[in-house]
């Protein structure tokens, strides 16, 4: 008995490496967009927007790699799941990068305007989102189901913060109509971060699917 398919295994590794690299770029886009918001850095915001097409191209490349492997290698069982998961993860990561772009666009719309008050909950939220992203990618790298489940639990905290931010902003808008524009923008940012956490959770679900072959709903 000998092992075969070294070339196929090498291609599957190439696919995984491409996803991990894409993940790193998306993490940077998220970190930069949040940093641009808290430091009012228009230059950094433009950079996030400028780099987004590169991330889109990475998604395309991953889909092409996976499609070729399906067409040429007839993958089954875990090999097939590995490829299906790469499609879904690449799509989640691409959406996360788009949300980072959305945050960067908020920074541009605020155009250096001083914020009505120092941001507290949004940085807290972005910190959790970044940690979730990091852990979702790490759980994929190690195929660590426990880590995926643990990561998904953090989503509750993100949802709570999102609810709190909305309430606070709505109250502020009611009290001071001059702040409506700014408060609305921050509501959007909160929503973008909350969506990012959902995508990180989806990545966790894919890790479980890859390892176990069953699809849990970690978004509960």
């Amino acid at each position: 008995m000998t092992y075969h398919r070294q070339q196929f295994d090498a291609s599957l590794k190439e696919l995984k490496d491409a996803l991990i690299l894409m993940g790193k770029h998306v993490q940077k886009a998220i970190a930069d967009s949040v940093e641009a918001l808290s430091s009012n850095n228009l230059e950094l915001a433009s950079e996030v927007i400028r780099k987004d097409p590169e991330i889109n191209a990475e998604e395309e490349k991953i889909i092409e790699l996976g499609t070729n492997l399906i067409a040429l290698q007839q993958p089954v069982a875990k090999d097939l799941r590995r490829i299906l998961v790469s499609f879904r993860m690449a799509s989640d990561l691409e959406r996360m990068a788009d949300l980072a772009v959305d945050i960067a666009k908020v920074v541009q719309r605020l155009n250096g305007e001083t914020l009505m008050k120092p941001l507290v909950d949004i940085p807290k939220m972005s910190e959790i989102v970044q940690q979730m992203t990091e852990e979702s990618l790490q759980s994929y790298k190690d195929e660590n189901v426990d880590q995926a489940y643990k990561m998904a639990k953090m989503d509750d905290e993100v949802d709570q913060l999102h609810g709190r931010i909305l309430q606070e902003m709505f109250a502020m808008m009611a009290q001071n109509p001059n702040l409506i524009n700014q408060a609305q923008m921050l509501c959007f940012v909160s929503r973008y971060l909350e969506r990012m956490a959902d995508h990180a959770t989806n990545i966790g679900e894919n890790v479980v699917y890859l390892a176990m072959g069953s699809r849990p709903d970690l978004n509960q």
Binding site: H4, V76, R81
Partner: protein, 261 residues
């Protein structure tokens, strides 16, 4: 016996194999095989060469009886009947459990006589009846339209794929319940292979089909259930879609994904 038969029918399993062990003199070729095969479905046996899959297939119509030094322990029931019972008529068993081999093996006779051969042996002599059987069998094997104009032509004049479908028609002519197929497409080109696979899909409406194949994609395409054999053991027997998507045993996963063997 009639009670057994009822039990077998009640759960839709036409073949029951219980604790089957087979030895070729000292070589232990099948080890405690337990399996129940659903009627009117396709069951595939896969596994590396020498794993016992063809051996098990051949026990189902007692083809191993002719091999010297074979010892069999355990039980095989087909339709509720213990087929190794000394009272079993082996010819009738083989009428009920037909077989199609790897290499198409038509008789050196006309297309018509190939199909009529079995029914004649079983005592059918009326021309009209034989004509009907020939037509029905060739239609059943999806060959009728290609040969109906010249049934007196030698079977040797057919292509490999047509010959194989002729052999399937010949097996159908004696009204079997179970069709055993031992690598039925490994000598055929890809298009003939697909035709036989399509045919298998149609045949399963009326027959129970058990197929040994080295082509895992074929097992995946045609079968409802798949058994994976290794070193004389059934490692895993499951619905085909499960076996090829989420196998329970790592050895199955290694084999179906081409990592081992």
């Amino acid at each position: 016996m009639s009670e057994n038969k009822k039990d077998t029918k009640a759960d839709n399993n036409i073949v029951k194999i219980a604790d089957l062990n087979l030895y070729y003199t000292e070589f232990h070729a099948l080890k405690s095989v337990n399996m129940e095969i659903k009627e009117k479905s396709v069951t595939a046996f896969i596994g590396p060469s020498g794993c016992g899959k063809s051996t098990l297939l051949r026990t189902l119509n007692r083809m191993n009886d002719m091999i010297k030094g074979v010892r069999i322990k355990g039980l095989i029931e087909i339709d509720g009947t213990d087929i190794y019972d000394p009272n079993v008529n082996v010819e009738l068993l083989r009428k009920k459990v037909g077989m199609v081999f790897q290499q198409p093996n038509p008789f050196p006779k006309s297309i018509y006589d190939n199909i009529a051969y079995g029914p004649r042996i079983h005592g059918i002599t009326k021309k009209q009846e034989l004509d009907d059987i020939v037509e029905r069998s060739l239609k059943g094997a999806a060959l009728w339209n290609e040969v109906k104009g010249d049934l007196k032509k030698s079977a040797y004049g057919l292509s490999g794929g047509q010959q194989q479908r002729l052999c399937i028609a010949r097996a159908l002519a004696v009204n079997p319940e179970v069709l055993l197929m031992d690598e039925p497409t490994s000598a055929l080109d890809p298009i003939s292979t697909l035709k036989v696979e399509e045919l298998i899909q149609e045949l399963k409406n009326n027959y129970t089909i058990i197929i040994v194949t080295h082509n895992m994609q074929q097992a995946a395409r045609v079968s409802n259930d798949t058994a994976f054999f290794l070193n004389g053991e059934v490692v895993e027997f499951n619905e085909t879609v499960k076996l090829f998507s989420t196998p329970r045993d790592q050895r199955t996963e290694d084999y179906i994904s081409g990592r081992f063997g």
